[in-house]
C-alpha cells in the first residue's frame, strides 16, 4: 500500500511538472510586450528584459520561476489589478472560491446520495420517477442558467437575496451561487447512485445474502450500500472539475471575486494577462491532478480488491 501511494504521488508530481513546463514554455514564447501597462522605449524594454532575466535560456528561467512559485511568489500581473502581486489577489480568490465550491460539492453529494438511495429503494414507483426527472433536468441545464433563474427570481422579482455577491454577508450571499453550482453534482450523483444500487440489488452476492436470510435495512446497509458507493468516488473527480468550470461563469455573473472570475478576466478582457494565465493554469492543473490523486487513493482504501492486492502478492 505504501509503495502504491508513493508511486501514484510521484506520477502525479511528474505530470504536474511536465504540464507546468509546457505552460511556461507556451506563455513565455509569446510574441508581444510583456509590460503593456508601462510606457517605455525599446531600449528601456531591452534593459528591463535583461534585468528580469527574460533573455536567459528558457530552462534557467523556468527553474527560477519554479523556485519562486514554491515560495508562493507568482510574480505580478501584467495588466490586471494594476500589477498587484498575484499572490495577494490569488489568496483571496482561492478562499472565496473554495468556500463556495466546497459547500456546493458537499450539498450536491449529500442530497444527491439521499435522492439516489431513495429512488433505488423505491424502484419503479413515484419517487424513482421524480428523481429521474430531477437528475435529467440537472444534467441538461448548465449551472449558470440555474444561477440566472435564481438570481432573477429571488434577488430581482422577490428581492430577498442580494443581487450581487456581498463579501460582508458571506454565508447569506453564497446561498444562490452554492445552490446553483451544486445542482449538477447533485443530479449526477443521484442518477449514478440509483443505477449502481439497482445493479447491486440484481447481483449474485445480494441474491446469496438473501438466501442467507438477510432482508430490508440490514441487507441494504451491509451489502448493497457499500458496494454501490465505492464506484461513486470515481465520478467525484470529474464532478469537481465540472464544478470548477461552472464556477467560472457563476462567479462572473454573481460578481464573486474567485479564481473563476479571475480566469475570465485574464483571458476574456481586452488584453490577456500572461502571468495570470500561467499562475491560474498551474493552479487549476494542480487542483485537477490533486483531486484525481485523492480519488484514486480513496478508491484504493475503500475497495479491498485494490487495497489488499499487494498484500496478497507478498503472502
Amino acid at each position: 500500500m505504501g509503495k502504491y501511494v508513493c508511486k501514484r504521488l510521484g506520477m502525479a508530481l511528474l505530470t504536474l511538472l511536465i504540464i507546468t513546463f509546457l505552460l511556461f514554455l507556451l506563455v513565455r514564447i509569446m510574441p508581444g510586450n510583456p509590460f503593456p501597462s508601462e510606457r517605455m522605449s525599446a531600449e528601456q524594454i531591452a534593459n528591463k528584459r535583461a534585468e528580469m532575466g527574460l533573455d536567459d535560456p528558457i530552462l534557467t528561467q523556468f527553474i527560477r520561476y519554479m523556485g519562486n512559485v514554491l515560495q508562493g511568489d507568482f510574480g505580478k500581473g501584467t495588466s490586471l489589478y494594476n500589477g498587484a502581486p498575484i499572490r495577494t489577489v490569488l489568496s483571496t480568490a482561492i478562499s472565496n472560491s473554495f468556500r463556495i465550491g466546497g459547500v456546493a460539492i458537499l450539498l450536491g453529494t449529500l442530497v444527491g446520495l439521499a435522492l439516489g438511495i431513495t429512488a433505488a429503494l423505491n424502484k419503479g414507483r413515484f419517487l424513482d420517477g421524480f428523481c429521474t426527472v430531477f437528475s435529467i433536468l440537472g444534467v441538461c441545464v448548465p449551472s449558470y442558467v440555474f444561477l440566472i433563474f435564481l438570481q432573477y427570481t429571488f434577488s430581482f422579482r422577490i428581492p430577498f437575496f442580494p443581487y450581487f455577491f456581498d463579501p460582508t454577508r458571506f454565508a447569506f450571499s453564497s446561498v444562490i451561487p452554492a445552490v446553483s453550482l451544486s445542482l449538477f453534482t447533485m443530479s449526477t450523483i443521484a442518477r449514478f447512485t440509483r443505477n449502481e444500487m439497482v445493479e447491486v440489488f440484481d447481483s449474485d452476492y445480494v441474491r446469496l445474502a438473501e438466501a442467507k436470510g438477510m432482508y430490508g435495512r440490514n441487507l441494504v446497509m451491509k451489502h448493497v450500500l457499500r458496494n454501490a458507493l465505492i464506484p461513486i468516488v470515481t465520478v467525484l473527480a470529474p464532478l469537481v472539475v465540472d464544478l470548477l468550470t461552472g464556477a467560472l461563469v457563476v462567479e462572473k455573473i454573481y460578481g464573486i471575486n474567485g479564481i473563476g472570475k479571475l480566469m475570465v478576466d485574464a483571458i476574456a478582457g481586452e488584453g490577456i494577462d500572461y502571468n495570470y494565465v500561467l499562475a491560474l493554469g498551474i493552479l487549476y492543473s494542480a487542483l485537477y491532478i490533486g483531486i484525481m490523486l485523492v480519488v484514486d487513493l480513496l478508491y484504493g482504501v475503500l475497495d479491498p480488491r485494490i487495497r489488499v492486492a499487494s498484500k496478497g502478492e507478498e503472502a
Binding site: 509569446m30 441545464v141 440566472i148 468550470t245 467560472l248 461563469v249 475570465v264 485574464a266 490577456i272 487542483l287
Partner: protein, 346 residues
Amino acid sequence: MAKKELQLQAPAAPYVPVKEDFVLLTKRDIHTDTNFASQSYWKGVFTHFFKNRRAVVGLVIITVILLLALFGPLMNGFGYRDIVQYRNEKNKRVVAKGISPQIPAIHRLLTGEEPEGNFADYTFLFGTDDLGRDLWTRTWYGARVSLLIAFVTIIIDMIIGMSYGLISGYFGGAVDQVMQRFVEIANSVPRLVIVSVLAIFMPKGMGLVIVALLLTEWIGMSKIARAEMLKIKEQEYVLASRTLGARNGHIIFKEILPNTIGPIITQVMFSIPTAIFTEAFLSFVGVGIVLPQCSVGTLIEDGFNNITTLPYQILPPIIVLALLMLGFNFIGDGLREALAPKLEDM
C-alpha cells in the same frame, strides 16, 4: 433403495384423443432452428432501440431541432442580424425594439379586432431583442451554429481518437505504454487551462472553440476504442486473419474497426452535448462566438444582459440548449442499452 410414491393429479385433458392421432409425423423439418433464425445483429439493435420510449423521444427532439435549425431562419423574412425597422410618415426610423412574443393571428381570433400599435401586425414568435432583431430567426440560427460546431469537432475527434485508441490497443507493449502515458498527461490538463492558453495564441471566435474541443474530446474516444480493441483482438477471427497473412492496417481498420463502431457511436452521442455545452459556456464567458454572429451561448448571454428588461429573451436559447442535451443523452442511453441488452434471466 428408498421407496417413493407419487400422487399426480393429471390435469383434466380437454382433448380426447382418437385413433388417427397416433401416427408418426413424417416429412417435417426439425433441423432448422426457427427460434433464433434470421435475426441480424443490427436489426436486433434497431428493434431494441425503437422499443425504448426515451430513445425515441430523444430522436424526435433532435430531429425537430435539426429541422428547425435548418429551416427555421427561412420561415420568416428576417435575417439573423437584420434589425426589423421601417420609416414612418415623417421619415423617422421606427425599430422593433424589445417586442415580447406576439402572434397577430391569435389576437384576431381571440378578440376579433385588428391589433394596434407599431409592428402590431408582425408575427414574432419569440419576440425581438433590445436592438430589434427577430429572436425566432436568431435562436434557430444560433442552434445551427452550435450544432455545426459540435458535429464537425466531434467527427474529427472521433477519427483521431479512434485511430489513436485502436493503434495503441492493437500493438500493445511499449507502443501502448508510451501512447497511454501521453494520454494520461493530456488528460491531466483541465480544459479551462487549454482554453486559456489558446486564448493567447488565437483570436476569440469559432476557431478557438473548435480547437479547444478538438484538443480535449478525442481522449474519451481513444479510451473506448482502445478498450474495445483489447477485447476484440483476442478473438479467433482476428487470429485467423493474421494467420492468413493480413497486414496490421488491414486487420485494424477492416476487421476490427467495424466491430467497435457501436460503443464509439454511443460515445459520440454523449460527446455532442458536451461540445454544445462547452461552446455555450465559452461563448457566454466571452472567448467563443463573437457578435454579430450568434450561437446558443451568445444568445443566453444576450438574454442574461437584458434579463431585467426583457425577461422572455433568455428562454428560447435555454430551452433549445436543454432539449439538445436531453435529446442526445436519451439517444446515447438508448443506444447503449440496445447494443448490450440484458438477457432475460430464466
